[in-house]
Structures are given as structure tokens and as C-alpha cells.
Symmetry: C6
Subunit: 69 residues, 6 copies
């Protein structure tokens, strides 16, 4: 199942990847992850966190994302 | 997967966007987000919050929305 | 995706709408919402609460509903 | 979407309905509901609780069910 | 929707059933259930717990399972 | 439903399996599991934990995974 790039939300994440924006991801667990998105697919996003460590985040667990202030 | 505008709930959010209504979004995390919806697609809504910051909210995490009193 | 009115649960909500029954909705967040259902679609229900305010409730967040005692 | 009666879990609930067994339903909210199942469809179960009140329980919110000891 | 026995996870549960292994099921509620799986279908597993009571567990509520140490 | 190896997230887990990397899995329950992934399918991952015990983790319950520091 490829990425549905007709969706604004998918294109927005593509932009965040290209512009290497530092973001906050709020998870349904209450966790807040901070870092840059490296890639996304239909199920996950890969985040490079502030310790330059890669985390594969399942989209099913995401409440919201926003650019870090 | 485009927006199913035959659904009253989709059309209602379209109206909230056009009328720039300030709303409250209650998330499954217990968070309450306040702001105006800028756009929606089948997976997400983009909210401009009270600090004029954009948040991409995953619809999967929404419990309910209502106009801010 | 229209409403599947072959389902007893969909028809039951249609009856609650027509009879303007006051109900309690228990959400997965633990919240209990009280009011009358105004409309439903495959994704949401619109509840008029006791302050005559409309809330769009995502069905994905519902644990159960019952008539208010 | 009718009931898939090829599934043992669907047939088991049909038996609980026919035998009017009093059961416990543990919800993902942590709630435990006690009563008899009156009907089920692909999305919900209707429970008559111990106060003879009907509750429509969304199957999405169920963790497990067992006969009440 | 029959069981997809091409999946290792489905076959693994079939083995646990045949070998009558005592397992722990961790639920998304935080509950830990202990017992033997008697049957499974695409939506549920039936567990015989340590009090020889049958519990129908919805697979949607499962975090993980492991053999009881 | 076989594994969709066109997805980067699926291939990444395949690499973690082949390289026997020790990882942390954060679950929606808040649990953090530590171990090596032995296999995955479309619904689950099998983790060998630090006590050499196998745990079948449902992908529906995963928030994120990362290599153990």
C-alpha cells in the first residue's frame, strides 16, 4: 500500500521531511517525541531524535504532530 | 481516499473551516486542543491553535469536537 | 459509506433520534456525555448536550450508550 | 455487513443470548458491565444490565467477556 | 473471514492450543490473563483460566502473549 | 495477507531481524519490552526477550521501536 500523496496530511509530512523541521509528536500513550522525520510510509514514520537515534513510530499511535516552538 | 462529503460529519467540519469557528477537540489522550480547523482529509485535521501554531491532528485520536463556548 | 440500516445498532440509534431520548454516552476516555442524538453517520454522532450545545462524537471513541435513568 | 456466523466467537455470543446467561463484559476503559446479552450485530452488543436497563456496547471497546461466576 | 494460517502468529497460537501451553495474555487495559487457549478465530481467542472458567478475549485488546514461566 | 515488503517500515524490521539488533518496543500500555525480533508477520512480531523467552507482540499495540542504546 503506497503513500496516498493526494492527502494534504501526507504531503505535509513530506514537506517536514524535505525541510528537516524539528517537530513534536504526541502519542496516544501521552509520550511526546521530539526530532526530525526521516521517512514515512502508510504505517510508520521514522524519527531522528535529539540524541541522533532513530525511532520507528507507528502512525496508529499518533495523536498529533506540530513544529517544535 | 478522498473526503466522503456525503457524510454529515465531514460536511460539518467543512462548515467549521469556512466559518472559521473556534472549536475544542477532545483527544483519546484526554488532551483538549483549542483553535480553528484549517483543512481536513480522510486521516487528519489541521488546527491553528491560539498561539497561531499549526497542529496536524490524527482523526483516529479524536473523541469529540464542539464549538468553544 | 452510507449508514448500514440492516444493523440493529444503527436502527436503535435512529429510534433514539426520532424519540428524542436523553442518553448517556460513555467514551473510551472515561468521559460520560449526556444529551440527545440529533444525527448519526458511519463515523460520528451529533449530540445536543444539556447546555443545548452540539458535540460531534467520533463513534471510534464510544464504549457504550444507554438511556439516561 | 451481516454477522459472520462461521466464527466461533459469534456463535458463542449467539449461545449466550439463547441461554440467557448472565455475563461480565470487561471494557478497554476498565469498566466491568454485568447482564444478559439481548442481541448482537457486527458493531455492537445490547446488554440488559442488573437494573433491567439496556446498554448498547460497541464491540470495539470490549477486552473480554466471561460467564458471571 | 476464516483464519489466515499463512501467518506465523496464527500458526503459533494453533501450536499453543494443540500443546495446551499455559500462557499469559497482556491486555491493552493492563490486565494479565493466565490460562490455556482453547480456540481462536479472526476476532477472538477463548481462554480457559486457572479457575477452569472460559473467557472470550477480543484480539483487538491484546498487547502480547507469552508462555507462563 | 503477506508482508508488504514495499514498505520501508517492514524492510527495517527485516533488517533488525537479520542483524539480531537488541531493540526497545514501547507499547500503548506504556510497557517497554527489550529483546531481539525473531520474526514478523502482518499482525505480530515475535520478540526474544532478555530472559530468552519468546513474546508474541501484536503490532496493533506498538507505539514505537528503537535500537537499545
Amino acid at each position: 500500500m503506497g503513500l496516498d500523496t493526494s492527502l494534504p496530511s501526507i504531503r505535509q509530512v513530506q514537506n517536514l521531511i524535505q525541510q528537516a523541521v524539528t517537530i513534536e509528536i504526541k502519542l496516544l500513550t501521552g509520550d511526546i517525541l521530539i526530532g526530525r522525520i526521516i521517512w514515512q510510509d502508510s504505517q510508520c514514520m521514522c524519527l531522528m531524535n535529539e540524541n541522533s537515534q532513530q525511532m520507528t513510530v507507528w502512525k496508529q499511535a499518533i495523536a498529533y504532530i506540530k513544529a517544535k516552538e
